[in-house]
């Protein structure tokens, strides 16, 4: 139940900053969309950390480390290439979870099955936001 509340709060928070300001330069428009994606990836990372902090932990520390390292790499890619990160980040999500919205083809997720199940709603939210980026 908690994760659904968290997901709803995350959705509302992201939706509140969804409206793109008018009259932005092309570079700023790309940065605006990229900022939204960074924030939704933060939601995925924070969900993993929150699950790890439960007693007993719902995600192991090793699994959480995998998520944090994935997140760090994804944000670094977005920061380095604000206009060209999408294929790389989607591929990394597919490799992490095998989520069908992120890719297709043979896939063995880097995360254990229970972690994929727990993070699935957050990954789905991230992929919805990513899909909105042109």
């Amino acid at each position: 139940m908690k994760r659904w509340v968290f997901l709803l709060v995350g959705t509302l928070a992201l939706a509140s900053c969804n409206k793109q300001p008018p009259d932005l330069t092309p570079e700023a428009t790309i940065a605006f969309q990229a900022t939204r994606v960074v924030k939704v990836l933060d939601v995925v990372r924070d969900a993993a950390i929150a699950a790890n902090e439960l007693s007993p932990p719902a995600l192991s520390t090793d699994t959480t480390r995998t998520v944090v390292l994935w997140h760090k790499t994804a944000v670094q890619v977005i920061q380095a290439t604000p206009g060209g990160w999408k294929p790389t980040v989607k591929a990394s999500i597919y490799a992490l979870t095998c989520h069908p919205l992120a890719g297709s083809g043979p896939c063995t997720p880097q995360l254990p099955p229970d972690a994929v199940t727990r993070l699935y709603p957050y990954i789905g939210l991230a992929l919805v936001v990513i899909a909105e980026v042109p």
Partner: protein, 66 residues
């Protein structure tokens, strides 16, 4: 249980754009007198969001060494 979870996730994934659109309709432009951010401000916000996000990663990794 897995079927139920998949059903819920599928429903959420499908409905999410509608939920976001509804929230936007309800809550966006509550303060129309507030000027929209400039391009420079958006670029600064992007760099700040990346820096804050990466700092949180580094903090967690530092406190949870392998």
């Amino acid at each position: 249980m897995a079927d139920r979870t998949e059903l819920i996730v599928g429903a959420v994934t499908t409905l999410m754009p509608s939920v976001i659109g509804l929230v936007q309709t309800l809550f966006v432009n509550k303060n129309p007198e507030q000027p929209p951010p400039t391009s420079a401000e958006v670029l600064l916000a992007f760099n700040a969001a990346c820096a804050k996000s990466l700092a949180a990663d580094d903090l967690w990794l530092a406190t949870h060494p392998k």
